[in-house]
Amino acid sequence: MIGIIGILVLLVVMMFLQMPVGFSMAMVGFCGLWYVTGLDSALSMIGTETWANFSSYGLTVIPLFMLMGTICFYSGVNKGVYDTAYKWFGRTRGGIAMATVMACAGFAAICGSNNATAATMSTVALPEMKKYGYDKALSAGAIACGSTLGVVIPPSVVLIVYGIQTGQSIGKLFWGSTLPGLLMALLFILTIYVLCARHPQWGPAGPRVKITEKLKALPGMSEVIILFGLVMGGLYTGAYTPTEAGAAGAFFALLIAITIRRKLSWKGFVGAILDALKVTSMVIVIVWGAVIFGRFLTISRLPFEIVELVSNLRISPPLVMTAILVIYAIAGMVMDALGFLLISIPIFFPLATQLGYDPIWFGCILTVVTTMGAVTPPVGICAYVVRGVAVDIPLSEVFKGVIWFIPAYCVTMAVMIFFPEIALYLPSLVR
């Protein structure tokens, strides 16, 4: 009972007081522990838990991957990726929107955050689509949804946090999410194709590009391939830890920025570091809050009682899984997906594993459903980011564009449910 009260209080504090998610989880968790275990124990817990979380070697992977993404952003790697995709596919109907999704997928392969991908792609791709008379809703929807590939295609901050919270291998999670991420990108492209086939005026063909220019644009993609190969290759062979993979990624991103691209100014370098610090602090504070709140939930025995209750109901596991996904989809509409993921993992993770679902698969499907939460109204962070950049596109148009892509998320999840191998085959090869 106390666990349920704790969750209700948490929701009230977050919704009505607009207290940051990490702060409110820590605070409510602390109060809950105070109630259940006494003040002394709760007080000593926050001291040790703060230090343990902040100094955790496992969590150091977050700033390093963030740094890799921000250095790439400030050195214009994203523009190179977009340029390649644009020159190769822009000529076809809806091609610029498709190229945008491909560029999002490419940038997602070196950046673990949705918002960074959304901000980046909005500034690069929107003016181009506007120039060729693309439908506003389609343009905005393609960018907003394309940017959600940021956390599905590794590296991914959601998978890192899930891995740390549940003790799963981050390398395996990264590989598990690769194929679903690519499938999702493909389905987005298919959606654009179908929409433009039915409404040709929504996505007129772009300019003709000579083959020599196309070939010249190819190196724009090479940096992404190098960085992705370096990070994922090391994780695949077990040659280094996720933290070291992040560090190597950040180091090589810096090397590329300085020696090949030569576009990273001192100001850009400082900006990259400050941005990485900002996001790191935000994510780790949420993890810290979730750990404290999770302690309270565990002591309240709520997760175990829910597992027991659902087991006794004898509902078929696929139905329970569908219900879990629906809960995540609804929660993603009203709050930040990462926050809800961390609140709910202590409850749903034991339930899913008890029902016989693979923890790696569960992490991958949760990433898809939570990333959908980043574009669904009313609280769709990526849609807000796109709106922030596209001053002439109203938010309602952005959300209208997003709705067309929702089936792609649902199909990805359905494929993952019916063919779990899509998320399990590659991790099974990881050493």
């Binding site: 001291g47 230090w51 280094y240 070291e244 610090l277 949420i286 009203v334």
Partner: protein
């Protein structure tokens, strides 16, 4: 008074974020070096714990910078509908509660640092003292509490806040 406090908080956050940035670069260099040295049979002793300590500095010293940039995610689905006055009141309550909580975190982290200092506790591999890092985390939480106090004062006295 609010403007002075605000200026001090902002300046300190800026300095702290520099320390966080240096720690981040140090962490990157150390992790890369360890990765290169390991195959040669000479891994850097205590690299994992040093990276952990630097990680603590990265997170703690960027707390102020994140707070000033409003980077901490919150759910604003209801509060956008509040009137200006209600929003200010909610902001004040919110800042007050968070400030008290972070003062508690400051106190308890400092208490933990003092405990391991008195016990003479050292890290597992390098056998180095690490309580200074814990004190540093505590100090950063105090800075966050100060920034929350500035928020509280600005919410209570908006005109003074504007002058700042």
């Amino acid at each position: 008074m609010i403007s002075a406090l605000d200026a001090i908080g902002s300046r300190l956050s800026q300095w702290f974020s520099w320390i966080g940035g240096i720690a981040l670069l140090g962490m990157t260099a150390l992790a890369c070096a360890n990765m290169l040295m390991r195959p040669m049979g000479a891994p850097i002793a205590g690299a994992y714990e040093l990276i952990g300590f630097l990680g603590a500095l990265v997170v703690a010293f960027s707390l102020g910078h994140s707070q000033l940039n409003r980077a901490h995610i919150s759910v604003d689905i209801l509060t956008t509908r509040y009137s200006e006055k209600t929003r200010r009141l909610i902001d004040a309550v919110n800042s007050f509660l968070c400030m008290i909580f972070f003062l508690l975190v400051t106190w308890r982290t400092a208490h933990y640092a003092t405990t391991i200092w008195r016990r003479g506790e050292t890290s597992e591999t390098l056998r180095m003292i690490y309580y200074p890092f814990v004190y540093a985390v505590s100090l950063c939480c105090l800075l966050l509490a100060v920034l929350l106090l500035v928020n509280l004062l600005k919410a209570l006295f908006p005109k003074a806040g504007q002058k700042a």
